[in-house]
């Protein structure tokens, strides 16, 4: 069996073909670099994506502070994570790298600030 996909690990966006059977992946072609193989592997088993959003700020100079998942999250948990992010509040000040939501929904992945806010 084969599956085709675009690697989104970098802006090049290689068109990758994965050959697989019941035992797993047999061959990956079309990738320009090694990261393409890793991408294909996670995409076949547990697709993940980086999540970015904003969290409301209390008592700061701006209404919201941007944030990201420190590592990619399982793709099927995006909307559940968004609910948590929309519920959360952050007290100013905050700075880049601050953990705003630790271990979101038990994934082991933190939501961290990506900008400074006084």
């Amino acid at each position: 069996m084969t599956k085709q996909m675009y690697c989104v690990a970098c802006p090049l966006g290689c068109f990758i073909t994965v050959e697989y059977d019941d035992t797993g992946i047999l061959n990956v072609t079309g990738n320009t670099c090694k990261r393409g193989i890793d991408y294909a592997r996670t995409e076949m088993t547990n697709p993940t994506r980086s999540l970015t959003s904003t969290i409301r700020v209390i008592g700061g100079k701006r209404a919201v502070i941007p944030c990201k998942s420190h590592e990619p999250l399982p793709k099927n948990m995006m909307f559940d994570c968004m609910k948590e992010i929309n519920k959360a509040r952050v007290k100013a000040p905050a700075k880049i790298g601050d953990v705003l939501i630790p271990d979101i929904l038990g994934t082991g992945i933190d939501i961290v600030a990506t900008d400074n806010c006084d």
């Binding site: 989104v8 970098c10 999540l51 941007p66 900008d115 400074n116």
Partner: protein, 418 residues
């Protein structure tokens, strides 16, 4: 006031150019920025994907910008915020204004233009119908959501498949809005493939190619739009009209370099890039004035903005040390051959002692094509490309050994062979 170097614009381009000039030994540098903080457009681009090439990390826009802002703060580069430049005169005197000091005159030896670009507004499109609220550029919507923290609408149609529109399709969907579709008038997408995959396909948002919005409906607030297919000449095809209910229409139909200052200063502009005509150090045709970043050519990747800005910073430093060196430059034009829309730089000083990278965009999508660089009719490089698209900037390099042999009669050209 007197400065060796005045940098206009404090986005990634201005910051990188100033930092490079400092590193090259330029003493008095000032960055003039009309916004209240450094960082430019990146401050509102909260998605990740910046700096993959340059920092080998996937950073968000503000993170990328703040890395440079921090470096700037660690130097003695002056920064004037809330300060808008309004004029550059024949002798490189810069006029700016702000609330504190009113009108400011600065004598500059060299100037770097780094004003970025702005989005093409609705006025630039042909669209019939009313003018209700709810029609905005994707970048404006991005500012509303990411900086001001409010949602501009619930049911959204996006016109244009530029990266900003694609990024906003995902952002609005994650925030609970319904993004009905992205319409693209061209037969191909204007954005990066990765953005089509991550922002549309992941959320099952349809992308309709060769489709445009021909009318808007609604009195106070937008209530819907009429879309239609277009023919090869981009004219709407009668009978293909379709009404789509929506309260927001986002436009992502291209970016225009912000070159009013440049034009007023009498600097020649390339008809295609809409940026200044420059050489390999990003020197414009006006002595001592350099340009880099989105004001020179619209970039998709900030990493390339940074690299280009280092060239301009280096060029300005070279000029400040010895302006006369620029008097004996011998320029050869770069010529666009088959399939190539534009090349930056538009000309190369053959006295350079370094390899020169030519950045270009193709005019249409090609599969399994070759990119051929020729100097004086001889092939310098001939590279196979699996895919070429107007949405993605390409480059080829002229090695210095080849440039050494060139004369003022030489010809440089880049073309695509399907």
């Amino acid at each position: 006031m007197k400065y060796d170097l005045v940098v206009i614009g404090g986005g990634p381009a201005g910051m990188a150019a100033a930092l490079k000039a400092k590193e090259e030994g330029v003493e008095k540098i000032v960055i003039l920025e009309r916004d209240v903080r450094l960082g430019g457009i990146l401050n509102q681009c909260i998605h990740t994907g910046f700096g993959l090439h340059y920092f080998k990390e996937e950073l968000s826009g503000p993170e990328y910008a703040q890395r440079f802002a921090k470096q700037v703060a660690e130097t003695d580069i002056d920064v004037m915020l809330d300060t808008m430049v309004i004029d550059i005169d024949d002798d490189n005197n810069v006029t700016a204004m702000n609330n504190r000091d009113g009108l400011i005159k600065i004598e500059a030896t060299a100037i770097i233009l780094a004003m970025g670009c702005r989005e093409r507004p609705r006025g630039a499109l042909f669209m019939a119908g009313t003018r209700p609220s709810g029609v905005m550029t994707a970048g404006t919507a991005q500012k509303y959501v990411n900086m001001d923290g409010y949602m501009p609408g619930k049911k959204i149609v996006i016109l244009g498949s530029g990266d900003i529109g694609l990024i906003m399709a995902r952002r609005m969907t994650l925030e609970g809005a319904e993004v009905k579709m992205v319409c693209e008038i061209m037969p191909y997408s204007g954005g990066l493939t990765r953005n089509i995959v991550q922002c549309l396909n992941d959320f099952n948002i349809p992308l309709y190619l060769s489709t445009t919005v021909i009318a808007t409906h609604g009195r106070e607030r937008l209530e819907g739009v009429t879309i239609a297919k277009v023919d090869e000449r981009l004219n709407p095809i009668p009978g293909t009209e379709e009404y789509v209910e929506c309260d927001t229409l986002m436009l992502s139909v291209g970016l225009i370099p912000e070159n009013e200052l440049t034009k007023d200063a009498g600097i020649s502009i390339d008809r295609i890039t809409r940026g200044a005509v420059v050489d390999e150090l990003r020197a414009t045709e006006k002595k001592g004035v350099f340009a880099c970043g989105n004001v020179l050519q619209v970039h998709d990747l900030v990493d390339f903005v940074t690299l280009e800005s280092y060239l301009a910073g280096k060029g300005a430093a070279k000029y400040i040390k010895n302006p006369a060196a620029f008097d004996d430059a011998v320029y050869v034009k770069t010529t666009t051959g088959n399939g190539v829309g534009y090349i930056v730089p538009q000309r190369v000083n053959i006295k350079t002692d370094e390899d020169v990278k030519l950045y270009f965009r193709v005019r249409q999508v090609y599969k399994n094509a070759r990119v051929i660089l020729e100097v004086d009719g001889e092939t310098v490089s001939n590279k196979k490309k699996i895919k070429l698209a107007p949405g993605e900037m390409e480059d080829v390099t002229i090695p210095k050994e080849i440039i050494e042999k060139m004369t003022d009669k030489s010809e440089i050209s880049v073309r695509v062979e399907a």
